[in-house]
């Protein structure tokens, strides 16, 4: 039973409470860095690292943090891990990848997902489940970044992971620029809404039938 609960803490961040498509959080980096799948993966990985570590530290020291100043405390913890991940990425990842992520790596510090998980989960729960919760939210966000960036890369550059998709396809560069990002995310959110609506209609109809 306990194991199942732990698994649920992890998977809820991926589907039921997906940070991007269900909670609509962390929009700025989701649009800015999703020009290629590689960028999406790097950004998601960095955010997952920060989420897991900050959730762990905050839930470990949660009894020492006074309620009134909890937000500044969270921000300082998160900012330390963001500095760490920034230095690590500068040391180990190729420079052009760092250049394309640009200011969005230090901006992880103001990513709403991380503060949201700290405030609503890590501040109230034990360290181990908080790690799972952070990992789930991070992986969920990373997967949704990959989905958005895969669509934009295929349509806008005609490649995926840098490999050409088809010889005859003429790429539409507007998709990797600002307007394409907004429109792709808008349509994706609409699609997920449509699926949710259809599902609830279906259960409604079945319920009526049984009645």
């Amino acid at each position: 039973m306990a194991e199942q609960d732990n698994l649920k803490e992890f998977t809820k961040g991926i589907i039921q409470y997906n940070p991007l498509f269900v909670l609509v959080l962390g929009l700025c980096p989701s649009l800015a860095v999703t020009t290629s799948v590689k960028n999406g993966l790097a950004m998601g990985g960095a955010a997952t690292f920060v989420l897991v570590s900050s959730n762990f530290i905050i839930s470990t020291v949660r009894s020492f943090i006074p309620r009134e100043i909890r937000i500044p405390c969270f921000i300082v913890v998160i900012a330390s891990f963001v500095t760490m991940v920034e230095l690590l990425m500068k040391a180990y990842l190729p420079p052009e990848l760092n250049a394309s992520l640009g200011i969005f790596i230090p901006l992880i510090v103001v990513n709403c997902i991380i503060l949201y998980r700290a405030e609503s989960f890590a501040y109230k729960n034990k360290p181990f489940v908080s790690i799972l919760d952070g990992a789930g939210a991070g992986v969920g966000w990373m997967l949704s970044l990959c989905l958005v960036s895969a669509i934009r890369e295929v349509l806008g550059a005609g490649t995926i992971f840098g490999l050409k998709v088809s010889g005859s396809y003429q790429p539409a560069p507007v998709m990797i620029m600002a307007p394409g990002a907004f429109i792709v995310l808008g349509l994706l959110l609409g699609f997920f809404n449509w699926r949710k609506l259809r599902k609830s209609e279906k259960t409604m109809r079945e319920y009526m039938k049984h009645d």
Partner: protein, 212 residues
Amino acid sequence: MIKEIAVIIVSVVFVNNFVLAKFLGLCPFLGVSQKTSSAMGMGVAVTFVMTLSSAITWIIYNYVLLPGDANIIALIFPSIRELGLIEVLKTISYILVIATLVQLVEMMLRKMAPALYEGLGIYLPLITTNCAVLGVALLNTTDSPRHLGFLQATVQGFGAGIGFTVAMLLMSGIRERLALVNIPQSLRGIPIAFICTGLMALAFFGFSGMVP
């Protein structure tokens, strides 16, 4: 001098609009743009915080973080003169400055404009986590292609705030009309707002190339 300032303002308001071209500050942009009055209030509050935080972070960057003779900390710890603190302390020091300023604005608004304070609600403390504010501080200092002067940095912060306000006002005008239109149910709310933003960004493309 005046020409340079005008170029900076036109560049950040129209050509490199923070919301529509750089994807910064989208959460309040979508969250508070339902009504024109609250959009205006949010824009003014953000502009105020951005201008002040640009000025203060410029001072911190040049006199505390950068290596060199001007560094104040080097007076006490001489090794800082060569190394600087830029890599390790920039994120933390900037976010603390911004958080303090937002607290200040919150206290001022509660005293001076209680109606606006109520209207902004949760989004007022959330200016701290508005990535446009931290973004302009970073773009003014560490991520700037060339070294900006104090006045240029402050003007860029102010212009970015104005650009944010312009985008918010345009969006709130569109959304007030959208509320009366029959939209497919699954696109209502945020999805249609995103698609409209995309079309606005396309329109703002027309300004690109205006500033060298």
